[in-house]
């Protein structure tokens, strides 16, 4: 049975894939469905949902279209989630490979640095970083990556430690390959699978962290974010709770989708590895 | 000579990845009360499956046909109470985070209705019976602090704690060094004699079995090939496969080693 068919047979994985597809669709068609600035005033303030069909989910405190904000927020969440995860995985893979392959002092120093990054709560670190440099999308991505690269680094290092004893590494050494070349051309690609298996968790964590940063007012002010929407809705929590609740539901479904689909991929490809 | 258990047309099928694998096919044999019966075979012969089936330890995914009648008991056997089971790997059969004293005591407590202090006293007695050095401190030791042979002695103690009528040793010596093997075989022999237990000894080593058993059953590919008294099997086997197994033991056999351990060869 091919991995794809195995994936399709797992109900949770399929559910996740559907949620994820919906999210990606929302992000991609947002500028088409809701052209113009989603932060522009679209109607009267605090219009309840399902009353005016040109504003299906109503408006917020300033009269902005909630549905448009929701769709545009998907773009931010997706972009930040994927970019931060990619950065964290890349940094972690490189650091872990270097540490595991070089060993000795290099390993010690890199591991102490990894310890230091793990000792500081990642959210506090992200907070400090964004507050220092200023909130923009790229900075938020960097801030999140700074807090999450340590996990992949440890996994990569563990893999590399076992790989570097293998025969094909010894033969590469024997033909005189430069150690750095061996590390990155022979060892790293083989150490990647367990690192990549972490990607769904990291993407999910990145999306949630971005939402929390935006909630605290540290997100990119020029972009619509679900976290920012929830923060905005807090001021009118008594009278219009849906303004905070709806973006939160979107977040839950998104993270759930990422997690289920990601785990599904890991399960189906991992099974194939053990069978072959 | 009454039968403790009668096995009739026992067939066990495992389901693996959608395929059905027959581990035992139409096995019929009697286990005589008080005898020492050895089940011999190579890997895949079904000998361990037979042991698990008799003990009722088969996985839920297995299909069982045929029957086992326990005329010697008059009722279906209770695990631990009527049947003691010793596994191959002593490191794996003991809980790594519980003291060995407690692991033996809990068996006594479960089946004999003892209080914890009574159960611990019984555990100490059992440790003395299996000749574990310094039973007092051993009670509070953890499995990783013992050697392989010592761990297997503990496993045996736990298996006989409730005084079962049948002791099943599933490759109980296969994971141990040769000299330790001989010691454990001697231990099992003594305990079985002292308590009047029936012994089912599973092994791939026909020489070891010949030293211990009164009867030998030879298995191959899930079928019973030959069954008879030890002397007959060893000296005059009727089946070619049995002869092949015996011939594979030319040269190094258990006799000189057992001699050195001070046991009858």
């Amino acid at each position: 049975m091919s991995p794809l068919r195995r994936f399709l047979r797992t109900p949770e994985a399929v559910a996740g894939a559907i949620l994820l597809a919906a999210l990606i669709a929302m992000a991609l068609i947002a500028p088409l469905l809701f052209p113009g600035d989603p932060q522009a005033i679209a109607g009267p303030a605090l219009l309840p949902p399902f009353q005016d069909w040109s504003l299906p989910l109503g408006t917020d405190r300033l009269g902005r279209d909630v549905l448009a904000e929701l769709f545009h927020g998907a773009r931010t969440s997706l972009a930040v989630g994927l970019a931060a995860a990619a950065a964290a995985l890349a940094i972690g893979a490189v650091v872990g490979t270097l540490a595991g392959f070089a060993g000795g002092l290099v390993d010690e120093v890199l591991m102490r640095i990894t310890d230091a990054f793990q000792t500081v709560p990642s959210f506090l670190l992200a907070l400090a970083f964004v507050s220092v440099v200023g909130p923009s999308l790229g900075i938020v991505v960097a801030a999140i990556a700074l807090g999450t690269w340590t996990g992949p680094a440890r996994v990569a290092r563990a893999e590399v430690l076992s790989i570097r004893e293998r025969d094909y590494v010894a033969s590469a050494r024997a033909i005189g390959m430069h150690p750095l070349e061996i590390a990155f051309r022979e060892v790293l690609p083989n150490a990647l699978p367990p690192v990549l298996a972490m990607s769904s968790v990291i993407v999910a964590a990145a999306i949630l962290t971005e939402a929390a940063l935006s909630f605290l007012g540290l997100g990119d002010p020029n972009r619509v974010t679900w976290g920012g929407m929830i923060a905005e809705g807090r001021a009118v929590l008594r009278t219009a709770p849906f303004l905070s609740i709806v973006p939160g539901i979107a977040l839950v479904l998104t993270v759930l989708g990422v997690y289920l689909a990601g785990e599904g991929i890991v399960e189906t490809t991992a099974v194939r590895r053990s069978l072959s | 000579m009454s039968a403790l258990a009668s096995i009739r047309d026992l067939t066990v099928t495992y389901r693996r990845d959608g395929n059905a694998v027959a581990a035992l096919r139409n096995i019929s044999l009697d286990i005589v009360a008080g005898e020492r019966l050895a089940i011999i075979g190579e890997s895949g012969s079904g000998k361990s499956t037979l042991a698990l089936a008799i003990a009722g330890l088969l996985p839920a995914s297995s299909a069982v046909a045929g029957r086992i009648e326990w005329s010697g008991l008059g009722r279906p056997p209770l695990l631990g109470r009527d049947i003691g089971f010793v596994f191959q790997d002593p490191s794996a059969s003991l809980d790594p985070v519980m003291t060995i004293g407690k692991q033996i005591a809990e068996v006594a407590r479960t089946h004999l209705g003892l209080t914890w202090s009574q159960a611990y006293a019984k555990a100490k007695t059992l440790l003395e019976r299996v000749r574990l050095p310094d039973p007092d401190s051993a009670l509070h030791a953890f499995p990783h602090q013992l050697s392989g042979g010592q761990k297997q002695r503990v496993a045996i103690a736990a298996a006989i704690a409730a005084g079962p009528k049948l002791l099943i040793a599933d490759e109980a010596t296969s994971a141990l060094d040769t000299i330790v093997q001989a010691e454990i075989v001697a231990l099992i022999r003594r305990l079985v004699a002292e308590d009047g237990m029936t012994l089912l000894f599973i092994s791939h080593d026909i020489a070891l079995a010949a030293e211990l058993a009164e009867r030998i059953a030879v298995f191959r590919h899930g079928q019973l090939v030959e069954l008879g008294a030890t002397a007959q099997i060893v000296d005059a086997p009727t089946q070619a496969y049995t002869r092949t197994l015996l011939d594979a033991h030319i040269g190094l056999d258990a006799a000189p080693l057992l001699n050195r351990a001070g046991l009858p060869a």
Binding site: V120, P121, A212, S244 | E106
Partner: protein, 328 residues
């Protein structure tokens, strides 16, 4: 006991080194900020160039980076974290004031998540693949996906606004002059919602870990052996399987403490709890760099201490730990 002490000593040395890296790293990071505390101060209170220079000199901000780092490290040795620009008080005092509230929140939330999570995990893992197992598995995954601050807001809407059972925020009723048991009860009521919000997020984690740990433990041979010895299913589940599955969870306690400290920032913000997390947010808002540095350092020390305690607890729980060195 010696086993624990040997571990402690080795970890202590390593931890000091790690904390040093944290201090230097964070110091350099915060130095990278364009503008400093004085600029932020001036923005809100106003002042001319002369005042700016005077303030800079008073707060030592006109010296070189390296000098300031050296001064800072020296002060640290005296447990002096510097002066907060925002509060005009020693940072150490401000932090120590707020710290107990955060600790209370964290300990309660951890007790909730670990206790209830493990219990539910054992319940689910006792019958792998059963209906309740699948339900708890999906349920915990959904809970895992919930943002803490959003859960907090939902809880406020339901329990504080709609039902009016619990207060909206704060740690106690202001100016109520309650003492002793009354005060404790008052604080407890105020903490129910924040603890629930913080706790339920990590509950999912422990539930899933315990469930996975049980599944792993079920496959171990000693479980079959315990079954072969005729032990009751209940005893096998609790005394053997769960006990073994507990070990990785205890390790996770240590790792999660860092995450929970981060999570407390938003929760304290949502519920207006005057703790360390909220203080961090205030420090960010007022660009009070020394205060932020002090908070990060305190958090790091807290995480190190918690991890040390967890490691000692683990050494007690797993008899195999340190067996080689202490010569058991």
């Amino acid at each position: 006991m010696t086993r624990a002490l040997i571990l402690l000593r080795r970890r202590l040395v390593g931890s000091v080194f790690v904390l040093l890296i944290v201090v230097i790293g964070t110091f350099l990071l915060l130095e990278a900020a364009p503008g400093d505390a004085v600029d932020a101060y001036i923005v809100s209170t106003g002042g001319d160039a002369g005042m700016i220079e005077m303030l800079r000199h008073r707060w030592g901000l006109d010296q070189s980076e390296l000098t300031r780092l050296a001064n800072y490290l020296w002060a640290l040795l005296h447990l002096d974290l510097g002066q907060s620009v925002t509060f005009s008080r020693p940072i150490r005092d401000v932090i120590l004031e707020r710290l107990p509230n955060t600790l209370l929140l964290m300990v309660s939330a951890t007790a909730l998540s670990f206790g209830l999570g493990s219990a539910l995990g054992i319940y689910a893992g006792a019958r792998p693949g059963s209906a309740r197992d699948r339900f708890l598995s999906i349920g915990s995954l959904a809970l895992y996906a919930v943002p803490g601050f959003w859960l907090g807001l939902v809880l406020i809407v339901v329990f504080a606004v709609d039902l009016r059972w619990l207060p909206i925020g704060g740690i106690e009723t202001l100016a109520s002059d309650k003492t002793g048991l009354d005060r404790a009860a008052d604080i407890a009521i105020h903490l129910i919602l924040p603890v629930a919000a913080l706790g339920f997020i990590y509950l999912a984690l422990y539930l899933r870990m315990m469930r996975a740990g049980m599944a792993e433990a079920w496959r171990q041979d000693f479980v079959l052996a315990a079954h072969a010895r005729g032990l009751s299913r209940r005893r096998v589940v609790l005394a053997h399987v769960a006990r073994n599955a507990l070990l990785p969870l205890v390790t996770m306690l240590g790792l999660q403490s860092a995450q929970m400290l981060g999570g407390s920032v938003v929760i304290e913000s949502v519920f207006s709890v005057p703790g360390l997390g909220r203080l961090a947010q205030e420090a960010v808002a007022s660009r009070d760099t020394p205060l932020l540095l002090g908070i990060i350092l305190t958090s790091a020390v807290l995480v190190v201490v918690i991890n040390l305690l967890v490691d000692i607890a683990y050494a007690f729980l797993d008899p195999r730990v340190g067996a080689g060195e202490a010569g058991a």
